[in-house]
Subunit: 326 residues, 5 copies
């Protein structure tokens, strides 16, 4: 599906009078005016993509990757055009889950083609930001690359923040006095952290190459901007590592608290048992059939026995209460 398609020149969107699928005309119009085309596709069919590939001379391997999706983040150079794969992440509040999409970018000197997979991470924000800031957009296709990377990586930081909140909740739950089933929660969070890591870590290498100014077609002036992106990636990676470590710690604490709980329960149970078992012994004693048992004949023998029972139970109760078993 074609989401948007436009020609930009000198930082401005220019209108081209042709059908949205007439890629050749679009490209010609851009070339004429020394501008560039930005074509935005969303989960394109194989046919759509191959038409685009032909019109812009994209490399077969890259087109296949962009169609299949499920690539790892990478930057590939084919002659003088770039192919960049980014993972997109977004946090779904209702499920407390991180979801993953993918953006593939083909970049030449007169075109940018963005192929997006997955629900989240619209590129409208990036396009809008660029159309609003002509002085950035003037830099041509490499401005688009920067804007997209920046948008995607900012979303990583948001996701990481959401995860941080989840970890805080788990932490609170682990150290609460209630019986909680935190291990499933911790496991899920660890799984999501692994997903974030697989989006974030491999992207650092391409961004570093951009920031070193050695990628052809990317302005050396843009280096500090890409260094900023690298910084955000590193920050996301570091926080995510810390969260992982904290979750491991929280899990350990959870295990310890299960053990402590079991120990507490065992002592509570034993104390309860003692309170019942001792009067049972007393009852047993006065159930013996000896002929000479003076208490049996007492007027208040029965009351005495009951008193003894309640008394012993009471003493035990007080004793266990004091020593913290009950």
């Amino acid at each position: 599906m074609i989401v948007d398609s436009a020609v930009y020149k000198g930082g401005q969107r220019v209108s081209v009078d042709c059908h949205v699928h007439d890629y050749g005309k679009l490209r010609a119009a851009a070339a004429e005016q020394d501008g560039f085309v930005w074509l935005g596709l969303y989960q394109p069919s194989e046919h759509e993509l191959s038409e685009v590939a032909e019109a812009f001379g994209l490399h077969d391997l890259a087109v296949e990757d962009a169609f299949k999706a499920h690539q790892r983040p990478k930057l590939e150079l084919y002659g003088d055009s770039l192919f960049l794969v980014l993972k997109t992440l977004w946090y779904v509040d209702e499920d407390d889950a991180v979801e993953t999409g993918e953006i593939n970018m083909f970049v030449g000197h007169d075109f940018v083609i963005t192929v997006r997979h997955g629900r989240g991470s619209q590129l409208q924000t990036a396009r809008k930001y660029l159309e609003d800031t002509a002085n950035v957009l003037t830099h041509g296709p490499s401005a688009v690359v920067y804007a997209v990377c920046d948008t995607v990586v900012d979303a990583y930081l948001e996701v990481v923040e959401d995860l941080q909140e989840d970890v805080d909740e788990v932490e609170a739950s682990v150290f609460s006095n209630e019986r909680t089933k935190d291990s499933a929660r911790i496991y899920t969070l660890k799984r999501e952290i692994a997903e974030v890591r697989r989006a974030v870590l491999p992207l650092r290498e391409p961004m570093r190459r951009f920031s070193s100014g050695l990628v052809p077609g990317v302005d050396a002036d843009a280096a500090p901007f890409y260094r900023d992106v690298v910084d955000h990636l590193t920050q996301a990676a570091e926080v995510v590592d810390t969260l992982d470590t904290l979750l491991s710690g929280a899990f350990d604490a959870h295990l310890a608290s299960i053990s402590v709980q079991q120990n507490d329960d065992m002592r509570k149970i034993s104390a309860g048992a003692a309170i019942v078992v001792v009067p049972t012994l007393i009852a047993g004693v006065y159930g013996m059939n000896f002929e000479h048992m003076p208490e049996l004949a007492w007027q208040y023998g029965y009351a005495f026995a009951l008193l003894l029972m309640f008394g012993s139970s009471g003493v035990l109760f007080w004793f266990f209460k004091r020593s913290g078993w009950l």
Copy 2:
């Protein structure tokens, strides 16, 4: 055993009129037409292999390796010929197990010899793909190297996907409410992951060397294709690492659930015991032999005692039910 043996020239299979074991003639035919021989062997005998080695001038150490199998993946250069070892992996559905084979390749400017060990991973697919795509096959022996590596590595990704499903099943089982014996399953999966890792990781170095275009006899044009293979290897390695981490997490959760289970059982048992022990105490009380126990003479004393017993049991049952012990 010779599986297939053919001479290729200009991307076409050409027929050579000679016996399948007449390696010298085959090679001469290839040399004559500026083509190359592709000889496919399957678990050859020492004798077969030494004949081949002599005809194509293979290095002794490499021949020994190819005969013994059980090498780690590697790329070795002997003069102007290559020796490449690949591990093949395939997933056996009925056993939920990963099995391992090995492919050894000898590559010269006018020959490719593939020696295959282990049931799976036929090379027919690769041969068929090449015979169908003449423009790739034109590149000579190095096209065969690429096709074989690509086939083998694609199989890794499939195996990894199967393992991912297994991990999902284990996960579901661990977090189910049933009593499961997941630790054996987790152990087996970890063992298989170790096997995959030993096939995947050492192969990255040879593939990187291919993709850098520095291996003599391998076209520099082929670099993006080998980079693609490296990408797939890296992806396989990353997924497998993640699976390993998830399994460790699942095992921890399994341990925690055993502990929680034990705690639940202990409380259930204790509650059950209490329900029996309290009426036993009551019975003990009315079994005492005091002369003056008014209840004993009551008309409905017995019924009263039974009621007391059932009543106390009922109260306890309700109490434990409410507090979640039963």
Copy 3:
């Protein structure tokens, strides 16, 4: 908020007759006398910061970072001016907690601007030290950079020492004979250690760059001083790593002690039960209704039975005491 603002020349603070917000005049005064301005800001408003940025020609990205704070430690070069981010750490005794602030420094050949976030880590100490040691201050802005880094890193070492004490306490508590709830404490300490690590580790790279003498505008003479800072950072990192390992060890020991405790409790409980259950059996025996039970008719049968009960309990008590169960 502007905390302090001054012009320094030849190691001396010189008074400039202008309003504190008249940055242009300040800078001109400094330039005139071949000195430099040191402007200290504390959590400035966006407006304040943008005025300063304009007056001193600061880079947009750096200004945004300095306003937002929550950056990781880094050194960024924009043309001939530096941007340095430092995390500040301080230990709050009442909470046994480590808190984090941030210092951002903009350094040009004629100015230093320090932007501080967070309660702790005043820079007065650094300013005072410099004003008192003219021969250091003579080196201009790079002297300020050194003084601030040194102050901040010295504070790291103090924090690390405080954590070391906390770890010692946890250790003592784990190996005491009391029932302690150390896992929450250990978790909190691990969390704080992670925070310290995130302040310390990324700072090593910038400091190494300073000590290599390759950062423009920083005297090569200052190298040994920065090497000293690097040494302190490395020391902090090493101690913190050791503490982390020790805490993991302490946690393991804590887990072991919970298990041992549970075992001890279980044996104690069982011994207690035995002491009650055996006399109950004896009582049961003499509660049997056989017609011919000689003891029942004995004059001192009852006393004999009680003696038997107490005796058996006593023997059991002694036995369990001796074997360490009670």
Copy 4:
């Protein structure tokens, strides 16, 4: 003790007419014929070694190392002579244990001195192989170095295979249904794996230096042979790493199985207790002394009570059997 001492020339052992301790004459004889001496020592006395050292001009530090043994594997160059330390490993079947020895080699252009410590790993195999393969032996001292390294490293692979079997046994034991004490076994294996690792890992560096052809006095032609040795070392290291990981996994599974076992036992015990406690309650009921208890007067009251007891026990037994507690 001198084990063997011989002069080799052009791949042949030549007889020299002199006493075995007359090192000078031996060396002269070798020099005369452009051959080399191979002197094999086994745990030599300090005196023996110092005589040899003098005759061949060995470096003091190396001689001290060779006498003391307990060095880590290393390659040291003293002028134009080499000093190589190798750890030897062998598996003692009766103890299921790995034992360690050491070989020190001094190599000059006209001599090889091998100093062996520890029972296993005779060098006869290497000497015999060389004497049988004149075309290898022709390469002089460096042929001996290769033969010894190859022999030693092949022994590593055998040891690793034996360990692999041990790990398989432990695995089978852990996942058997019997109560096993595997943790001691696992610990011992881990200890042995650590020993193997300390022999294998540091040897890779010297072997890589040999295979790079940069060590003076070692033929560049020998590079593929040393690469083969490096491959075997890497393989040993990888397998040993995998074994270590598997053992950790097996230990975890062992821990889990102890917990599961305890849980099973606890439930079995509780079920058993229930089967006894319920009839005890029934007996208690009919031991009550109420005047009006109709059952007491029944003709078959006793039988009825016994039936009730057995019945309740039976029902409980069936119930627990069905729910898997017994």
Copy 5:
């Protein structure tokens, strides 16, 4: 405190007629004779140290480090003089503990100043060795550096050996059949191993720099000797790593043995309970008040009941004994 102070020339100690604190004169005497001063200080006061610093022109930062101690091992070059920090370790038998000291060395072309902190690790040994071996001492200050480093590192190896014995003891204790409290012991050992590691690891870098012959003022001839020191350091580091791994393994085994122990205890307790509970049930049966209970009227009914009780207990005892519960 000045421990010793002497002038050496051509490998001999020469007597200088001046007061021990007259550093200027000492240095002049050394310079005159082309020798060098070796000044040994032990925990000097700030005043002492500053006098020395002035006389020999030591760098302020180094002097501060040497006074404060608690530095990490490092090598610092100030102009043409060296500053070296070493940690000293020694094992205190009575406490089974490793203690740490520090040696700071200032080395110029005509002086060596050693500043020692902490009880152990006297430098007399080094001084004596040098005075006895003139041919080493001839090399001037760099001979002293070597001798001190060698002495210190040899002491590391001894400490490591002592720790190895401790680990062996812990191991024996963990796998003994007694109830042991090994976790505290393991923790302490781990703590000491961390201390050793912090002394050993950072020292490798300086020693490697010495052995590379690139440190000004250190003879290139000395390289093999420093390589020997590096080897010993690496050996210490490797052994210590192995010990750490073994301790972790021992701890795991300890945990497992606690669990097994608890399981054994639980079964023992349950078996004991069964032996008491079953006769209690029998007593309960014969305590029932049915009118028609034939056994009650038997002559030997009581004996029969007792026999039944003892019999059932005996059978249970035998049964539990056979199945390993008792």
